[in-house]
Amino acid sequence: MNEKHNISDEPKSITLQQWDERYECLYKAGMPGPDYNGPLGRHFEDGDLRLASLRFDNSPAALRLWNLLLSEEDRLQADREAGRTIIGAMKDLGTVPVMAYALDNVATFYPDGAWWIPCVMQHSAGLLRVADKLGIDESFCPVRAMVGAFETGNHFPTPDLLICSVGAVCDDFSAIAQRVEAMGHPVLWWEVPPRRLAGANETSVRLPSGFTAASSQVDLVRNELRRVAGEIEKATGQTLTGAKLSEGIRKANTVREKISSLRQLVYTSDPCPLPALEMLIVEMLALHYCSDYEQTVEVLDELLTEARRRVDQNVSVLDGDAVRVFWVNPVADLQVMNLLEEVGGRISGTDYMFCHALSQIPDDVEPFEALARTALGDPMVGPTADRARMICREIQKFGCEAVIVSRIPGASHCAFEGEVIGKMVRDGLGLPVVEVEVPTVIDAVRPALRTRLEALMETARGRRQ
């Protein structure tokens, strides 16, 4: 099949226009694919203007990945028309969808994902302007685009049930989600406490992400998740039995296992088989399967096949001597991942703020207990030093040579975290670290950003000698 459809071509980084031309050839050659597949240019025509400024991997597997991502809005709309229950999960990143997808006829997504709309649509949707008018100005992080998305109602169907975790979450998000509720979208709030170690007379629980928490905190989160499950049951008219939740966990673990395999393969192989941008999207699939579990599994399988083929054939889109970079925090402008590779870097490890969504959910304990342990393992709900230590372990595991901490503009947690993480990496591992702030569209700061990244690459290369 590979030869027939010319997908054994040398890996290349190509533009949107080149992809559309390539798609035409592949299509005429009879490339199979799901109904949402098609030329990426159609998404540009629909307003995803940033696509024209990105460079993409040229594999059909990557094409399908992009199409899965960019067709989510249509998919959710179709779910609404088909009468499926739509659940909006906010902030927990990877917990509520495990419960929701354990039931039938449910679609779950993260309205938080709207934070990328200003980038992808290059501000043409005006979501940030709407948020401005509602008093959520640029001093807040770009997730404020979610306020604009709810207000305009243009980017996702209004969920039947909106669920948000609070407690140990950043003030930006908590404040913005509260505004969403005040706009007439009732929110089911559930509590996640700041993770802490067990006290003298408490028992301790080891979490899947490697952290430890007091068992009373796991109990609290487990009870909260049961409460959330009760509301999901009311919204869907179904019962979330232990057996069903266990099945939901098994499905989640399948996706997480595939992503873990891809990360291991891509972040450790030389030359790097898949680009940073596509891998960022791959990691995001762990959160809510882009509203389509089956397609997510198939897309990941295709990407694994493609990555393994490239490793076997020792081919890549990148130079063999690219600097191995560990990236901390997600970027508001996707183009930065291209920029890193343009200046001679590659991603060899990540913490995009949802590492807990990548770890396996325990299958040997009661399912709500398992999910509670996983949720408490969120690096963002514990001390920053915990997160920094985890990052250091990952850096060593993947053999990274440099670290980039990308700040999210307006995000209140970034300034403090950046200091702590940067110091621990420098002092503990002796690696070069830079902090960069990535706005939603980097065009105005691209030269300065490029200079900083180039300097980091130069420093890292100099250390090889």
Partner: protein
């Protein structure tokens, strides 16, 4: 008696005292940049920096409690736990953001018990129900004193009395700040505290008379997070331009007072009486925060204030995000004043307050 430094209305001082310590909720005397702090909290908001650094500088403090009323405080508390940087025992106390569920109510009580265990671990005594009951009653009497006089006090008098009730007498004997049981407060406390009228730049905000009640002054509400002592010049600015603070709805003000504690519950279960009273304090951070808005709208009606001065700290997302909604829901005009510790902001704030009060006349 050793003091326990704490930062939130959700931490009952009675609970600390019942464990044999003196509760001390500092009203942050000076802005951060005027101190040579033994610890730095780079990257967090000014308010949390002020609390964390000053908590480590007060004398006779046995422990520092940081209530996680916002994410900035949660993160800044980590600086206190960094090995080798600070030697006073520290505890991060989680105040649940949710309040309607059984889990949230249980979580709050569990955290108070954890606080009790912590206090015992540093030399405190385990309180008997009888001891807790007597302390609760004593505090209730003190609060009742203040409640009775709230409407007759000037803003500064009220702030001074409330600070004293939280153990912060600004280095003066407590009796100098205690509110007397008479309708007309004698301003002794206000005079004591008047030295705190420096604006953050260090300039005096003179010429300015000591604030006193003037029946022709426009009653306004002061709303926002904790008003640190170094920003009490706001009371004088408001007075100078023809207003007076009839409702102190800051975290340190009337809004931070628990409702009268259920006397019958005190007899049967003093811990539960205390916990249920304190957990009901309305706050902008709660999710949902309807209870805060209900309290505010009711207080506006009861106090007959003509305008709201919303004073918020730069960087404080929790208040910033609600400015629009407060303006939408308020039946009276609202002005939004963002303050940091620099002089420019201070002057701008004065100008805005002057214009606001002129408009209200």
């Amino acid at each position: 008696m050793k003091r326990i430094c704490y930062n939130s209305a959700y931490i009952p001082p009675e609970w600390i005292e019942a464990h044999g310590f003196q509760p001390f909720r500092p009203c942050n005397h000076k802005p951060f940049n005027e101190n040579r702090a033994p610890i730095s909290v780079d990257g967090c908001c000014t308010w949390s920096q002020v609390y964390i650094t000053q908590a480590t500088m007060h004398e006779n403090v046995a422990a520092v409690i940081v209530a996680s009323i916002c994410d900035q405080l949660r993160r800044s508390s980590e600086a206190l736990n960094t090995p080798g940087r600070h030697h006073t025992p520290t505890m991060l106390l989680h105040i649940p953001a949710t309040w309607q569920s059984e889990s949230a109510q249980r979580c709050y009580r569990d955290e108070l018990h954890r606080l009790g265990n912590f206090l015992e671990s540093i030399g405190g005594t385990s309180p008997t129900p009888g001891r807790l009951k007597s302390i609760l009653i004593a505090y209730e009497v003190k609060r009742e004193d203040v409640r009775m006089q709230l409407q007759t006090m000037t803003g500064r008098e009220r702030a001074t009395a409330l600070a004293a009730m939280h153990g912060d007498t600004n280095g003066k004997p407590e009796h100098a700040h205690r509110a007397p049981r008479v309708p007309h407060f004698d301003c002794a406390a206000a005079k004591c505290a008047h030295e705190d009228t420096l604006c953050p730049s260090g300039q005096s905000v003179a010429p300015r008379a000591t604030e006193s009640r003037d029946s022709s002054a426009t009653p306004i509400a002061l709303l926002g997070s904790e008003l640190p002592r170094y920003q009490w010049w706001l009371f004088d600015t408001i007075k100078q331009h023809g207003g007076h603070v009839a409702l102190d709805a800051t975290d340190y003000g009337q809004r931070g007072l628990p409702e009268p504690i259920d006397q019958s519950l005190i007899d049967n279960d003093p811990f539960e009486a205390m916990a249920s009273a304190y957990q009901q304090i309305p706050h902008i951070r709660q999710r949902p925060n309807d209870r805060f808005f209900d309290w505010l709208l009711n207080a506006i009606k009861q106090t007959n204030v003509k305008g709201i001065i919303l004073r918020r700290s730069l960087w404080c997302d929790l208040w910033h995000a609600e400015v629009h909604r407060i303006k939408q829901l308020s039946p009276i005009p609202v002005i939004d004043i963002d303050l940091d510790v620099d002089a420019t902001t201070c002057e701008r704030a004065e100008g805005r307050i002057a214009a606001f009060l002129e408009m209200l006349r």
